[in-house]
């Protein structure tokens, strides 16, 4: 298996092969990576690397070709993305398109719109108010520009990451 893994800011290429003796042959960005790998149970991995012990509990999320692995271990709890390199390329292009998109930073209810399409916005100006867990949160424009469109109306319930508006 060959995959591209993004962890925080870093993207690495991993190549993984099961060896005849049950071990793993791992190449990390082309370099051999030696680890004694064991499975304490079906959702935990133990790695001994040059004597150091690392243990990760993992849970899988995501969709075909783009697996998210939640890892918990060593005091960190994080989601890393494991991509099939070919599919990843296509996605990248979408992200590079021109407009700034405002996504919902959390699931919640749109309680108020603060600007109408066509409005000129300063960077940091409020676009709408989202209520979640009893907190009223202003969602602000990431940059100065024109409010191109609003994807939601007051009263709508939105999921985390849902598109709220576009600014150009």
């Amino acid at each position: 298996m060959i995959c591209e893994i993004q962890i925080g800011e870093r993207t690495a290429k991993l190549s993984l092969e099961r060896e005849a003796n049950g071990g793993w042959k791992i190449l990390l960005d082309g370099q051999p990576f030696a680890a004694d790998i064991a499975f304490p149970n079906r959702d935990t991995l133990s790695l001994l690397i040059a004597g150091r012990s690392y243990c990760f509990a993992w849970a899988r999320d995501g969709e075909p070709g783009r697996t998210a692995i939640w890892l918990a271990g060593g005091g960190r709890n994080t989601a890393v993305e494991v991509r099939d390199p070919r599919q990843a390329r296509a996605r990248h292009q979408v992200q590079l398109s021109g407009r700034a998109r405002l996504n919902a930073p959390m699931a919640g209810k749109v309680v108020k719109l603060l600007a109408a399409p066509g409005a000129l916005l300063e960077a940091g100006q409020g676009v709408l108010v989202l209520e979640a867990m009893k907190m009223q949160n202003e969602v602000r424009s990431p940059k100065a520009g024109t409010l191109l469109s609003l994807a939601v109306a007051a009263g709508d319930t939105v999921a985390t990451g849902a598109l709220l508006a576009e600014v150009e």
């Binding site: 298996m1 995959c3 893994i5 962890i7 925080g8 800011e9 690495a12 991993l14 993984l16 793993w24 791992i26 990390l28 990576f33 680890a35 079906r42 959702d43 991995l45 790695l47 690392y54 990760f56 509990a57 993992w58 849970a59 899988r60 999320d61 995501g62 969709e63 998210a68 692995i69 939640w70 890892l71 918990a72 271990g73 060593g74 005091g75 960190r76 709890n77 994080t78 989601a79 890393v80 993305e81 996504n103 919902a104 930073p105 959390m106 699931a107 919640g108 309680v111 409020g126 108010v129 979640a132 867990m133 009893k134 907190m135 009223q136 949160n137 999921a159 985390t160 990451g161 849902a162």
Partner: protein, 503 residues
């Protein structure tokens, strides 16, 4: 003593109160809204009683439905926890009228102290120092502008009812006042059913220190040490400790006496907390009284050895406090971290979701008061507090070391939370020196993220682990029975994009 107590709350505090009932051999009754049918407090209680639909107004904030549940299950007393109806004098009076014991102060004491505005007046009358500002609520943006102009910016807008940072806004210039006033009022209205806000001089970067008080119905009224609560984001505490570092015994005792004086003026019984602002010269200003059990009560429990909910139940049942002021002998140091479903990288915004993995830490000096479990979907409707992690040590250094170790062991995935933020705080020299004030979190986040000597190694191991896990042929251990719609998955994906090793 009561035979059955209804717990008019949810989340970790409801679980905490169920444990207190169990320790006393009292039958506990959980109440729940539709989305909470499988919440931890429902699973753990002896009995459970449905209130209504998921919005708080139809369930946990609905006085009629709570009283009806109490009647149906035959409870003799109601413990309100914190938040929801806990500081609602009308509810306390309705309990009394229904022949139920409200486990808390009398409605009269609550009225006298429960609203921040009324409490400010009472403090003033009893010569306890308060900050300059309005004593009554401001009724319009215009009035707010006028008062602010008089006392000068920055000013603080605060909900007259409630607490916990909701309906609170710091305003640094006149141009922001109108929008802040509207948001604070709306938030206060949604959270407490009362949109009234008042205005006071903002002290920038003060310390926030509070005194625990406890009174019985026989005239005994004690204070039980202080809690330092300056580490806040969005005007809400995230770390609390006791004793407060760098506080002289003289000031501690003066605050304790002021707290008891304020409570006595209101004929206070049961548990309560008097909050103060403390400046660099250890001048302290009365802020408000929380007429209920505090979220952070465990730090007081760990240093005093006392069980506050049990004492609340005992004094509500008419028992005398079993000790005097001199019998309260704190030992060691305790610190609490509030574990929230929120995203520190997005200004600590709430971040509901499903918990895929949960293994809390354990061992010497570690206490976990949790309200969630693996597989639970944290609902959108309520406060995002998941759990409280508390450590005790012989001194602050040991409590800190144990907290660091506990954070190292803590496994929690499936949603965004602030454990990574705590990990950073407990490695930060300023926090370790005990020099925190309410501006601390902003200062910390303004610094670049530090990297430890082992971070690169950990990252390599994590990369290998992720690759092996992704290639594993075992089915994904998703902990829910619900199928997730493609649309939800896509939204989840977008949320994951911001992910990083910092958590």
């Amino acid at each position: 003593m009561f035979g059955k107590i209804l717990i008019a709350n949810r989340g970790e505090i409801a679980v905490r109160l169920i444990r207190a009932c169990r320790d006393l051999g009292i039958t506990s009754v959980a109440v729940y809204s539709d989305v909470d049918r499988c919440a931890l407090h429902v699973l753990q209680a002896d009995e459970a009683c449905r209130l209504g639909a998921s919005p708080a107004a139809d369930s946990y904030l609905n006085i009629g439905k709570v009283l009806d549940a109490a009647r149906r299950c035959g409870a003799e007393a109601i413990h309100p926890g914190y938040g929801f109806l806990s500081e609602n004098a009308e509810f306390a009076a309705a309990c009394r009228d229904a022949g139920l014991t409200f486990i808390g102060p009398s409605p009269e004491s609550m009225a006298a102290l429960g609203s921040k505005t009324a409490a400010r007046r009472l403090a003033k009358d009893n010569h306890i120092p308060i900050l300059e500002g309005t004593v009554d609520a401001v009724t319009s943006v215009e009035e707010a502008q006028k008062v602010a102009a008089r006392i000068g910016f920055p000013v603080m807008l605060k909900a007259a009812a409630g607490g916990g940072g909701k309906g609170m806004r710091l305003v640094t210039r006149a141009a922001d006042l109108a929008s802040a006033y509207a948001l604070a009022g709306a938030e206060a209205g949604a959270a407490f059913g009362d949109a009234a806000v008042f205005l006071e001089r903002a002290v920038l970067a003060p310390r926030h220190i509070e005194i625990q008080i406890l009174g019985d119905q026989h005239g005994n009224l004690l204070w039980m040490g202080e809690r330092e609560c300056s580490v806040q984001r969005r005007h809400q505490k995230v770390i609390e400790e006791s004793p407060a570092p760098r506080l002289s015994q003289k000031t501690r005792e003066a605050m304790g006496k002021a707290a008891v004086a304020a409570a006595r003026a209101a004929n206070y019984t049961n548990a309560g907390t008097v909050e103060f602002l403390v400046d660099e010269k250890e001048n302290f200003y009365f802020l408000e009284v929380n007429t209920r059990l505090q979220v952070e009560h465990p730090v007081t429990e760990l240093v005093t050895g006392l069980d506050l909910p049990i004492l609340q139940i005992r004094v509500a049942a008419g028992e005398k406090l079993p000790f005097q002021q001199a019998g309260i002998a704190p030992r060691g140091h305790a610190i609490e971290c509030r574990v929230y479903a929120e995203d520190p990288e997005q200004n600590f915004m709430p971040s509901p979701g499903t918990i895929l993995r949960l293994r809390p830490p354990a061992g010497p000096g570690v206490r976990e008061d949790s309200g969630v479990y693996e597989g639970w979907t944290v609902p959108l409707e309520y406060d995002p507090l998941l759990s409280k992690l508390i450590t005790w040590g012989e001194d602050r250094a040991q409590a800190v070391a144990r907290m660091r170790r506990a954070l190292e062991e803590y496994q929690l995935t499936g949603l965004r939370h602030n454990l990574g933020f705590f990990r950073r705080v407990f490695a930060d020299p300023e926090f370790l020196s005990g020099h925190t004030d309410t501006g601390y979190v902003a200062r910390l986040l303004a610094q670049p993220m530090p990297t430890g000597p082992r971070d690169a190694e950990w990252e390599q191991a994590a990369l290998a682990a992720a690759a092996v896990a992704a290639s594993a042929s075992v089915p994904a251990p998703a902990a829910t029975t619900d199928s997730t719609s493609p649309w939800q998955r896509a939204a989840r994906w977008a949320a994951l994009q911001g992910g990083g090793a910092g958590q």
